[in-house]
C-alpha cells in the first residue's frame, strides 16, 4: 500500500488544480466577511445562498493581495459610491489556488463594479415595489409642509460637517427669518444607520406637535455609502411619518429608497436649509403682497370717496341754485295768481256796486217827487191813506222843491 504524506497529497491537489484550472474566472458571489490585514491585503469570505437566503450553497475564501487591493478598492468606491462590505453582491475575477497549509482559496485579480451597481438598483427597485404594494410609498409626499416651516427637527450626527452647514445656512439667511432647530442624533454611516435613524424618527414622532418638518442630513464623504438608505424598514418609517420628511444625504447618483419616499429630496444639507428658507420666503412674499394690496386698495378707495365728496361739494351750489330758481318761480306764480284774483274780485265788486247804485238811485224819493208825486206827513208820520186823517189835522205836503202846510176841512 502506497502511502503519501499530507504535504505530498496537498501538493498533488495543488498541481492538479494549477494544471486543470489555470485560467481566471469571473465569479458572482456575496461577501459574507471582509477583513483588511495590517500588511495592506484584504481577506474576503464569499458565499452563495439559496433563493430563500437562509442556506449556504457554496462558500470560499478569497484573498486580495496588496497591489490588487490598492487598485480595485478606490476604483470600486468611485464607481459605486460604496465600500465593499458584508451582504454586497460582487463580480470578481479570480484565479483558483491551493496552498498546502492554508488550503483552497481564490485570489482576486479584478472587480466589475457595474454588477454591484446593478444589484443595488435591483434591490432598490424591489424595495420600492414592496412599498408600493403596501400602499405607503406616496404617504409622506401627500403631507403639506406648513406655511411657515420654522420649527425643524434634524436627524444627523452632531459631529457631521453637514449638520453645521445646515445650521449656519439657516441662521445666516439674508431675510432675517427665525428658525428653531433641534438635533436628534443618529449614526449616518454603516450598518447601524437603519436602526439608529428609525430610533431618531421615533423620538421626533413622540413630540411631533413641536415641529413643522423633519430633515435627515449628513455630510458628504469620499464614499457616500448610500445603500444603508436603501432599506425597507427605514423607508417604511419615513413614508408613514406624520411630519414631512426632507432628505439631504449628499449624493448625486440614483435616489435612495429613503429619498424616493421622503416628502422632498435635496442633494446636500445646505440645499435642505435653502429649501426651508425658500418655503418661509414664499410665505413672507405672500404676506408682503397682501400688505401692499391692502394698502393700495384702501388708498384707492379713500381717493374714490374723496373724489365723490368733492364732486358732491361742487355740485351742491348749482343744485341749490336750481332749487332756488324753482322756488322763486313758484312764489312769483303765486303772487301773480293772487294779484289777478284780487283784480277780478275788485272789478266784479265794482260792477255790482254800480248796479246797486243804479237801483238805489231809482228808488230815491226825490226822483219820485220830481215826477209829480208828493209825500204827506202828519205829526211827523208819513200818511199812507185818507182814512189816517180827520178834520182839523194839519198836514205837510212835501214836493221836490219844498213843502206846504194845509188843514183838512
Amino acid at each position: 500500500m502506497e502511502t503519501v504524506t499530507l504535504l505530498e497529497l496537498n501538493g498533488r491537489v495543488r498541481s492538479t488544480l494549477q494544471f486543470e484550472m489555470p485560467d481566471a474566472y469571473w465569479v458572482q458571489a456575496e461577501i459574507s466577511g471582509i477583513s483588511p490585514s495590517g500588511q495592506g491585503h484584504c481577506y474576503l469570505e464569499l458565499v452563495q445562498k439559496d433563493p430563500t437566503g437562509r442556506t449556504f450553497l457554496a462558500k470560499a475564501k478569497a484573498n486580495v493581495w496588496r497591489n490588487t487591493w490598492l487598485r480595485i478598492k478606490p476604483f470600486f468606491e468611485a464607481e459605486t459610491g460604496e465600500t465593499l462590505k458584508v451582504g454586497m453582491k460582487v463580480l470578481l475575477q479570480v484565479t483558483v489556488s491551493f496552498h498546502e497549509v492554508y488550503g483552497y482559496s481564490l485570489v482576486v485579480q479584478d472587480i466589475d463594479p457595474t454588477y454591484t451597481v446593478g444589484d443595488m438598483a435591483r434591490r432598490r427597485k424591489e424595495i420600492l415595489e414592496q412599498l408600493a404594494r403596501d400602499g405607503v410609498i406616496g404617504l409622506n409626499r401627500e403631507l403639506e409642509i406648513p406655511l411657515l416651516p420654522q420649527r425643524i427637527a434634524v436627524i444627523s450626527s452632531a459631529t457631521a460637517a453637514g449638520y453645521g452647514d445646515f445650521c449656519n445656512q439657516l441662521a445666516g439667511n439674508v431675510y432675517g427669518f427665525r428658525f428653531y432647530v433641534k438635533l436628534f442624533q443618529a449614526t449616518m454611516q454603516g450598518d447601524d444607520v437603519e436602526r439608529s435613524v428609525i430610533a431618531a424618527l421615533d423620538a421626533v414622532a413622540a413630540e411631533r406637535d413641536k415641529f413643522d418638518a423633519v430633515i435627515i442630513i449628513r455630510g458628504g464623504g469620499a464614499v457616500s455609502e448610500l445603500s444603508c438608505f436603501d432599506s425597507y424598514n427605514l423607508a417604511f418609517n419615513i413614508a408613514n411619518f406624520p411630519l414631512p420628511v426632507i432628505t439631504g444625504i449628499g449624493h448625486d447618483r440614483d435616489d435612495t429608497v429613503a429619498d424616493v419616499v421622503a416628502h422632498t429630496k435635496v442633494k446636500t444639507p445646505t440645499a435642505a436649509a435653502e429649501f426651508i428658507i425658500s418655503k418661509v420666503f414664499d410665505a413672507a412674499s405672500i404676506l408682503e403682497t397682501l400688505t401692499r394690496r391692502m394698502g393700495e386698495s384702501v388708498s384707492e378707495r379713500m381717493n374714490l370717496e374723496k373724489l365723490r365728496i368733492e364732486r358732491m361739494t361742487q355740485k351742491l351750489p348749482s343744485l341749490f341754485a336750481v332749487v332756488r330758481v324753482r322756488r322763486e318761480q313758484m312764489l312769483e306764480n303765486m303772487w301773480n295768481r293772487a294779484v289777478t284774483g284780487l283784480n277780478s274780485l275788485i272789478t266784479s265788486n265794482l260792477h255790482r256796486l254800480e248796479l246797486l247804485e243804479k237801483g238805489v238811485n231809482s228808488s230815491d224819493p226825490i226822483r219820485i217827487l220830481e215826477r209829480g208825486y208828493t209825500l204827506t206827513r202828519c205829526n211827523g208820520h208819513v200818511v199812507k191813506g185818507a182814512s189816517d186823517l180827520k178834520r182839523g189835522d194839519r198836514i205837510t205836503t212835501v214836493f221836490a222843491d219844498g213843502s206846504v202846510e194845509s188843514e183838512i176841512i
Binding site: L148, R151, K210, A283, I286, L287, V298, R301, E305
Partner: protein, 54 residues
Amino acid sequence: MKRLEETVSRIEENKMDIDQIGESLKEARELIKFCKDKLYKTDEEIKKILEAED
C-alpha cells in the same frame, strides 16, 4: 394668513362701507404684525420648549 387674504379681498371688492374698512384695516394690520413677528422675532416660548429636554 388666510384671514388676512380674505380681509384684503373684501376690501378690494369695494363692497364695504367706510366704517367697515376702518375695522378691517385694523384687523389686517394686527394679522400682518402677528405674521411678521412669527417670521422675524424669536419666540422665546418655542425656544424654551425645544431646549428644555436637551
